[in-house]
Amino acid sequence: MATSVLDKAPAAHATAPTGIWSWITTVDHKRIGILYGATAFLFFLIGGLEALFMRIQLMKPDNDFVSPEMFNALFTMHGTTMIFLGVMPLSAMFFNYFIPLQIGARDVAFPRLNAFSYWVFLLGGLFINFSWLLNAAPNAGWFGYANLTSNQYSPGLNTDFWVLGLQILGVASMAAAINFFVTIVNLRAPGMRMLRMPMFTWMSFITQILLLLAFPVITIALVFLMMDRHFGTHFFLPEGGGDPVLWQHLFWIFGHPEVYILILPAFGIVSEVLPVFSRKPLFGYTAMVFSGAFIAFLGFGVWSHHMFATGMGPFADSFFALSTMLIAVPTGVKIFNWIGTLWGGSLQMKTPLYFAVGMVAMFIIGGLSGVMHSSPPADLQQTDSYFVVAHFHYVLFGGSIFGLTAGAYYWFPKMFGRMLNETIGKWHFWLMFIGFNVTFFPMHFLGLNGMPRRVYTYPEGLNFEFWNQVQTWGSILLGVSMLVFIYNMWKAARGPANAPADPWRGATLEWLIPSPPQEFNFGTVPPVGSSTPAWDLRRANGGPLQEPAPESGEGIHMPRPSYWPVVTAFGVLGVIGSILFTHAFPQWYLITITGAAILIYGIYRWAFEPAF
């Protein structure tokens, strides 16, 4: 420990290996980021297809495109997929790829743990979706309210796939959250104080804290539910004295921070894109940091606003209404600062800016309807109606997905060394923007007119036909916009490697190194004296910086690839997944023991193999 590893490092792994085995054993945060992105995008498309099926079903009254049972599975899997397999891992793609680059690090703090997170996530996602093949897809809603999830009302394996799948995904999220938290705390380049970190890194940092504190709660709630379903307890079953409302509390103690887990990374991306394309520093950097932290902190004190309809009494209603309204303040600060950043800027009308501005505008709409829900009397009118569906799609699609897409256009050149086509990108934006609003804005009207959510159909003559039809056409437009996006990426993949190191005149460290970055990221870590180190260098240089030359990487010692993370991930799958079989055969615990043996063996081999 006393001497630097650098001194005695042989020049191993000078060139990045290729081939499928190199991807399975990789511990490179950039490759893991790409794996996260590709996997999450596939799940995102599956979730989108599920939504399209629902829209086709609802296109006309008394439709029978899908059965009521199938509709339940579709909305449950759509929500579960989009949240846990779509938006969260798409954010994780950016965490993986860009947190180390933005703080000037060579990798994350625990590279093998990072690979482990990805493999557990992949196995968990496949596990949940495997239920489709058995015709047992989860069907009790993404919130799994008790007692819809009891053995009595959900006798099949459907809810088990959901419970155990989320448990597996939780392992992945926890491992990743610890890793990124430590990375940001400990691997910042010299000079990069906390209040000089790029805003995306800051919001990611806060997201990790939320993950760390929110996921244990759902873990326990899912354990209780699993015990109720498999081991005869009555945690949420009234016939044994249990209280179904406790599930709602535990779920939303997790669930409300979870919505900030979904939105804060997008906030961070937009806070990167707006200054770069306005050619102005972010307006109110410190206020942005603290408003993000304040949102996260308050996020733990508002959970019961999802439960006004359970009748908690005036004291609890008032408390949670007020704390919820308070969150509008830091959120308003953020929106004000984004507009302040754009104001008077020299706007570069590129695709990332379109998506970022689209995000701000759509999020304002979703935020306003959110403030409406914070008032219990109003909420009681809106709850369980399409008004709520409109609200959370404006924040999750209009907020998170628009923000993530801005990030995709902004960082694609850095990740793949290729520019996405600007013209196609703008087509993508306008199709998505129009399709999104046509799909989701009418839901406000339908909700206020009384259309309940989660119904598989509606009778004629309730005045629901027109807007439902409009929405379905909007959702098809949204689907087309995704095809345009895929076409754009496909075209770029076939095109020349035309991306310079810094296509946008970026402000942060990742733009100082070649696109795509070399395996070791930085040959020498650049000096950091502010939150915009690349602009500082540019200013000192009196103009554009030279294209960085590839470096030899001689003497830079990178972590060794390892397959123990994959093995250990299978152990996790075995231990948790084995509960699926408790009712099917009495020797189910043999699977648990096998899984545990693989898990322990994997951990030991992992712990005692040299990291370098």
Binding site: L212, V217, G311, M312
Partner: protein, 116 residues
């Protein structure tokens, strides 16, 4: 390379003598906890019960909080180690305690006003 961190993390840690004193205090506090419990249920004579029964919970919270703090500060070295580590523990503890308190209040209230 780690000389910097060692100055921070290792040199200021307490000595076995202090560790022993803490252990003895922890032992005494545990004994007091059990005594408070016994006094509160009348195990130490019926005369003590009316005095201790209403305050047993408060006594137990105070005593266990003291034990908790001693272990965290001295055995887990939070008193000497960088503040960051203490924050990593205290902030989640505040959230955890608030959630426990919040749920108890919500369910007490639910029982009085909500049901029946």
């Amino acid at each position: 390379m780690d000389s910097h961190s060692e100055v921070h993390a290792e040199h200021a840690h307490p000595t076995p003598g202090l560790y022993l004193k803490i252990a003895l205090v922890l032992f005494v506090l545990t004994a007091l906890e059990v005594l408070a419990f016994e006094a509160g249920r009348g195990g130490l004579g019926a005369g003590l019960r009316p005095i201790f029964e209403p305050i047993t919970v408060v006594l137990l919270i105070v005593l266990s909080a003291a034990k908790f703090a001693l272990v965290a500060m001295f055995y887990m070295h939070l008193k000497q180690d960088p503040r960051l580590l203490a924050n990593l523990f205290v902030f989640p503890l505040i959230i955890a305690a608030s959630i426990i308190a919040g749920l108890i209040i919500l369910f007490q209230y639910w029982r009085v006003v909500g049901a029946k």
